[in-house]
């Protein structure tokens, strides 16, 4: 089964054309913009630059000058950190509707991690200096975005605690469930992670090796918890996976 992109992605993408087509209502429901009028959203959209990213393309690189901030409209972004010894660690996934690369909001002048399109993605972006404008001019913009920062910080703390205390099996189960929750779509026999994931990817999220992940998935498949093909995972028994993950509650 291939990943079919929605019709939104035309073979040739002309920014002006695209923005004209893009209805203001697309942003209306997103937290950062929820308190703005249609006219205000139009203003903001007119300042934005849209761009499409092929799977595997970097949106920005760790250490690069943080000159823009981004809003993901469609697709998935993987936030990756590379260690001194060259290993990669996946810190976070960004789902549509979320801002990312918000280093400018935190007074950083470089990005702390690399952002890569995990699937074909569409994002709009603004120059970093506009952050202050938006924050002062539009009520609730800063507030809502700092709320997001707070949530991410909390989530990172949870993941740190997991890495420090949970066994590999629980961490892998947790990682898969997180992806399912963020981007899962219903299919015949379960819920499918809506973008390509390799065992290697999962190992980079959980601090283990691709071998161990492979063994776990094989065992789970034998047990009827998941079904997986190349770069593809369907969770067929989410509840049992939750139990395995040792989640609270």
């Amino acid at each position: 089964m291939r990943y079919k992109r929605p019709a939104l992605f035309l073979p040739v993408q002309i920014p002006e054309f695209f923005l004209a087509k893009l209805d203001e209502s697309l942003l209306t429901d997103l937290p950062p913009f929820s308190r703005l009028t249609r006219a205000e959203i139009r203003e903001i959209l007119d300042l934005a630059t849209p761009r499409r990213y092929d799977e595997g393309t970097a949106v920005f690189d760790e250490g690069a000058e943080a000159d823009r901030f981004f809003l993901l409209l469609d697709g998935v972004i993987r936030v990756v950190r590379t260690t001194a010894t060259g290993e990669q660690v996946i810190a976070l996934h960004i789902a549509p509707g979320q801002l990312f690369g918000i280093a400018p909001a935190l007074e950083r002048n470089t990005y702390p991690a690399t952002a890569v399109a995990a699937a074909e993605s569409l994002a709009i972006s603004w120059p970093a200096r506009l952050w202050r404008d938006f924050a002062t001019r539009y009520d609730g913009f800063a507030t809502e975005n700092y709320r997001t920062v707070g949530e991410r910080l909390g989530e990172m703390q949870t993941r740190m605690a997991d890495l420090a205390t949970k066994a590999v099996e629980q961490r892998v189960a947790g990682a898969i469930l997180r992806m399912v929750n963020q981007t899962g779509r219903k299919v015949e026999d379960g819920i499918e992670i809506a973008f390509p994931v390799t065992r290697q990817n999962i190992s980079e999220m959980t601090g283990t090796t691709l071998h161990t992940v492979s063994r776990l998935l094989s065992a789970w498949e034998k047990d009827g918890l998941v079904r997986s093909t190349r770069r593809h995972i369907v969770v067929t028994a989410p509840h049992r996976l939750v139990l395995l993950s040792g989640a609270a509650g």
Copy 2:
């Protein structure tokens, strides 16, 4: 050797007296206040409530209503998260001059972790609703604080990467070096961590057991890298410890 508190800590602490004694210059050099006038700092100080915390006392608890934010003047604060299974994970240490419990700045209404005084500490605090006042009235206040948030987020990402990729020995070395960097004071034969630390504490910072930490410290002591007594660690060969920690550069 005992921990001697500076004269600042009188047996009986009277807030008014204390604030009168506390010179505005104490805040002048701290990032959040560096751009303010003496008069403005006086205003802010007059709204603050000071309090002393004995070692082991909680400043606030995970999940509690986030009704205040804090500035640490002296001592050390440990930020601790408790997992579903009851283990503790130390997320962070706060050094004097830093804000903490800044959930209000991130639109959270509960604290995401518990803050405990790791040594006798002195902090001042303000009601959460004043955050917005300060942010709008005092230039640079919000900016500087969000910079701090950004730094902490970056540091947490680094620690996550370490937990995911480094071996226990490297993580323990790294944790000790971090404490030394934050609060180290020079002594005869090296640099001493300026607050009490148990093997258990270190294991909670690094996701290992107190047994393993004990073995490592014993080995390092035999090797001349550190010297340690009960709840006490002196690093005698920082450079070699850095090598062990596998830090970049």
